[in-house]
């Protein structure tokens, strides 16, 4: 069985201006790592553009119209102080959201076990009607709703280990008990949401971590808060908002995760996916702004995804 890797050249053309940390080189670094022989078994797929139907399940039509109309013929068009569109950004954003939906389709068709979407712009800050924090469409939310609406799944979970809280994803799902959103993030930090007291309809689980938290804090938080909540939810499908900016080398925050923490977290998520979700996992790229740390962290994350079926089989054999 198979791990899919979604990408598209236009995702590297989305460029928010000289020096912006959410830059095309992030994907160059990631592809560099994933082209190594150890990843030969990865199946590369071109990310299709999300359809209007897929997008309007999360974003109002008038928001989509406004974004597409804002795509400039040349130069940059600012959406907020940190987020901008260049001429390629519209198509990149469509394909970033489309990747998650296509990955769901392939996995539900039994063509693959899991998938990683190496796409940009990222998505978890995008609210239904508002682009912010480098995000235009909420890719992971579009994928999650696609999984439930098209395949009739009862419960879909999203785990977000980006260093920033996914205010957009939380806003999409906080009134919908069919979805669970679980996030670990630094606090205080942008965007300021994600307090433990924000619980939605019992389907939002926030783990704010103080600056300088590292392996011990995230592993404890996972074991005592996030994993028990996720298990109790019994997800039919798991999405990962995979941001790697909690790494100790990242310049945009002050947490101290290492590659090994990302490998560990990924395996933990995969174990729960094997137990409840038939191993179905779609992971989509969010942040991560140290190019070397990003490449190394994505590598161990994707490696864990590729090894998931073997690990699950071993676990099953042990139980039998």
């Amino acid at each position: 069985m198979t791990t899919l890797l979604y990408n598209h050249p236009v995702c590297m053309e989305h460029d928010m201006g000289y020096g912006h940390p959410e830059c095309p080189d992030r994907l160059v670094a990631i592809y560099g790592a994933l082209k190594q022989p150890a990843f030969a078994a990865l199946q590369w797929r071109e990310a299709p553009a999300a359809t209007l139907e897929q997008l309007t399940r999360v974003h109002p039509q008038r928001y989509l119209d406004r974004i597409m109309a804002a795509v400039p013929k040349d130069g940059l068009r600012a959406l907020d102080g940190d987020t901008a569109l260049c001429p390629s950004s519209g198509e990149a954003a469509l394909r970033a959201a489309g990747a998650a939906c296509a990955a769901v389709d392939e996995i539900m068709a039994g063509e693959a076990d899991n998938a990683f979407c190496a796409v940009r712009p990222p998505g978890h800050h995008a609210e239904p009607g508002r682009a912010m924090g480098f995000c235009v469409f909420n890719n992971v939310a579009v994928g999650a709703v696609h999984a439930r609406k098209v395949y009739g799944l009862d419960r879909v979970a999203i785990i977000d280990f980006d260093v920033h809280h996914g205010n957009g994803t939380q806003a999409v799902f906080e009134h919908q008990p069919e979805y669970m959103y679980l996030s670990s993030h630094q606090s205080p930090l942008y965007p300021g949401t994600g307090r433990s007291s924000e619980r939605g309809v019992g389907n939002i689980v926030n783990l704010p971590l103080p600056p300088y938290s590292g392996s011990e804090e995230i592993r404890n938080g996972w074991a005592t808060l996030l994993a028990p909540a996720l298990r109790a939810f019994r997800p039919d499908f798991i999405f990962i908002s995979a941001g790697f900016d909690a790494h100790r080398l990242d310049p945009l925050a002050q947490l101290s995760f290492t590659e090994e923490d990302y490998a560990w977290l990924t395996r933990e998520i995969l174990a729960i996916a094997a137990e409840f979700s038939k191993g179905r996992v779609v992971s989509t790229l969010e942040g991560g702004y140290s190019l070397s740390a990003l490449a190394a962290s994505v590598a161990v994350h994707v490696k864990a995804l590729m090894e998931a079926p073997a690990l699950a089989a071993q676990a099953a054999a042990r139980i039998a």
Binding site: G81, D82, P188, Y190, L252
Partner: protein, 141 residues
């Protein structure tokens, strides 16, 4: 041996220090800090009254990450006025304060320098370095 006890702030301070105004931009302040090795600069209003003190620490603090934005707006922050970062009502000292007392305050408040005020007017600034110099002078063998 006990020479230091005879010193007052007036004996060790830098008189007529460089000052700045509340509307001075942070990028100009940064240049001042670069050319002169001051820890802090007194801020005087247009009437010449001391209204604040701005330090390198205050300048740095303007650039930390906040929940408002994923990236501090470095360029825009440089265009903010000194009044947006200065500490208001700074602790001031009198020129006739014994230097031994001032040393005590420097240590306890972990402040690097104090504006020296007499009859409501700024007359000097006294820093850690000034006190160290006085110590050296009064304990020279």
């Amino acid at each position: 041996m006990y020479e230091f006890l005879k010193y007052t702030v007036k004996d060790a301070m830098t008189p007529s220090p460089l000052t700045t105004t509340p509307d001075t931009l942070l990028r100009e302040l940064e240049k001042i800090f670069e050319t002169h090795d001051f820890n802090g600069i007194p801020v005087l209003n247009h009437e010449g009254r001391l209204v604040g003190m701005v330090t390198k620490y205050d300048l740095l603090k303007a650039f930390i990450f906040t929940p408002d934005s994923p990236i501090p707006r470095y360029g825009l922050i440089m265009d903010r006025p000194a009044s947006s970062v200065m500490s208001l009502d700074p602790v001031t000292v009198n020129p006739d304060m014994p230097l031994s007392r001032l040393l005590q305050e420097l240590v306890e408040l972990q402040t690097k320098s104090f504006p020296v005020v007499e009859n409501g007017r700024l007359v000097g600034i006294i820093s850690r370095e000034d006190v160290l110099k006085a110590l050296r002078r009064t304990t020279a063998a």
